[in-house]
Amino acid sequence: MLLRNQLAALLTIIFSCHTLAATPSPDELDSLFAARGIIYQQDDNGGNINTNEDATIYEGILLFQKRLNDTNAASIKAVGDIVTAASYDDARDKAETVSAATGYNPGRFNIETRWKYRSSDLNSNRFGFNLHASYGQEYAYRSTGYGFGLSQSLNEESTQLSAQFQYFDDTVRMIRFDGSKETDAPRDTFTSTLSLTQTLSPVSLFDLSWVHSKQTGMLATSFNSVVINLPPNSTQLEIEKAPDLRVRDTLSFRYKHALGKDSVQLGASTYRDDWNLQGHAIEARYFYRIREGRLTFEPSYRFYTQKSADFYAKQFDAVKEYQTSDSDLGNFDGHSAGVLVSYWSSTWLTSQLSNYEIGFNYYQRSDNLDFYWLTLGWYTPL
C-alpha cells in the first residue's frame, strides 16, 4: 500500500498538467486509429545446432476502423516487416546468385480488410457477424486469406458465444538451402475457433476457446536443411521433409478477476497435433492501476513446455521419409516474462483520450535460443 501511494504521488506530479477523466469503455464497433511497432531480437546460443538462427525484425502495424452506423463498422489493417534473419538471408542470397535475380526484398507486408455487423443495442442479446480478407507477401511466401465469424450474446450479455472460420490459400517459393529452386508449392490452412466468454460475477469472468486447424500441402520450411552423419566421419546436408497434412487442436482457458482497482488474469492452454507435437502453457498477468485507471502496469509471466514432433532430431544417421532439425519443432521449455505500461492521455489529434503503451518481453528457451521484443503502441478513439 505504501508503494502504491508513493508511486501514485510521483505520477501525480509528473502528469499534473492533465485533468482526470474516466478511461473510455471500448466498444468493438467504435471508430479508432491504432499504430504499433515492435523490435524483435533473437540470439542464437543454441536451438538448431546446424543453423545460424540470429534474427532481427522491425514490424509496424496500422489499423483504422470506421463506425458506419449503429450496427456496422469497417476496418483496414496494414503490416510491414523488415527482417534480418541469418538462414532466411542465406537462402535468399543463394537463390539470387543462382538465378541472377536483382533487387532487395527485406521482409514482408500484409493488408487486411474487415467488415463487422452487430445487431442493435435495443436488443440486449445481440448477434454479430464479420467478414474479412487479407493478402500478404514475403520473399519466399505469399498468402491470401478469407474468413467469417458469428457471435451471439445470451442472458443479458453475461454469455458470449462466438465462432470464427479462416481459410488461407498460401504459396511457398521452393528455394532450397543450396539456392536451387523447384516449382512453387501450395499450403492450405483451414482454421475454426469456437469460444465462450462467461461473466461469473460483477468482478470476474472467464474465456474458453478451442482452435481446430487443418493444414495441407508444403508444410516444411523450404530452405531448412538437416545433417546426415555418414560413416566413418563425414556429413551430408539434406532438405527438411514434413508430412503434407497437419491437424492441430488447442484448448485454452483464461480467467480474470478484479481485485479492487487492480485485476489479475490467469490462463492455461494445451495443444497437440498429428505430428505428435504437444505443447502446454500457463500464464499470469497482473493489472496494477493507478490514477483512476489512466496508468496501468501489467507484469506478466508465461511458461511453455513442448514435446517434439515425431520426426525431429538434431542430426540423423540416414535419410528419412520425414526429417527436421527445426528447433521450433523440438523439445524445450520456455519462460517468458514482461511488463507493459499503458497511459491514457489527451492528444492534439482528437478530443478523445488516447492510449500510449510501451512494453518489453524476454523469452528464455531451455535450448538456449533466446529472444526479446520491445513494443510501442498508440491508439485513439475517433
Binding site: Q215, S252, Y271, Q306
Partner: protein, 70 residues
C-alpha cells in the same frame, strides 16, 4: 474434437443459469477487464509465440497459415 464441442456446449448451458445484470457491470466495463484490452496487442504476442513455438492458437485464434514465419 467431440469432447471439446461437448465441453463448450455444457459450459454454455451451465452459464445460462447465472447472470450479472447490466447495472452490476461497472467494474467489468473497464478496459483492464477485457481479454483484448487494446487493439493489436494480443495479435503481436500471438505472432511472436507462434513463430517460435510448435503450437498455434494458444490463448488466441489462428491455427497457422498466412505467414512463412522465417
Amino acid at each position: 474434437m467431440k469432447h471439446c464441442i461437448l465441453l463448450i456446449f455444457t459450459l454454455a448451458c451451465i452459464s445460462g443459469c447465472t447472470g450479472v445484470r447490466f447495472n452490476e457491470r461497472e467494474r467489468l466495463a473497464e478496459p483492464d477487464m477485457s481479454f483484448s484490452s487494446s487493439p493489436l496487442k494480443s495479435e503481436i504476442e500471438a505472432d511472436v509465440y507462434s513463430a517460435r513455438e510448435g503450437a498455434a492458437g494458444v490463448f488466441s485464434g489462428g491455427g497457422g497459415g498466412g505467414c512463412g514465419c522465417y
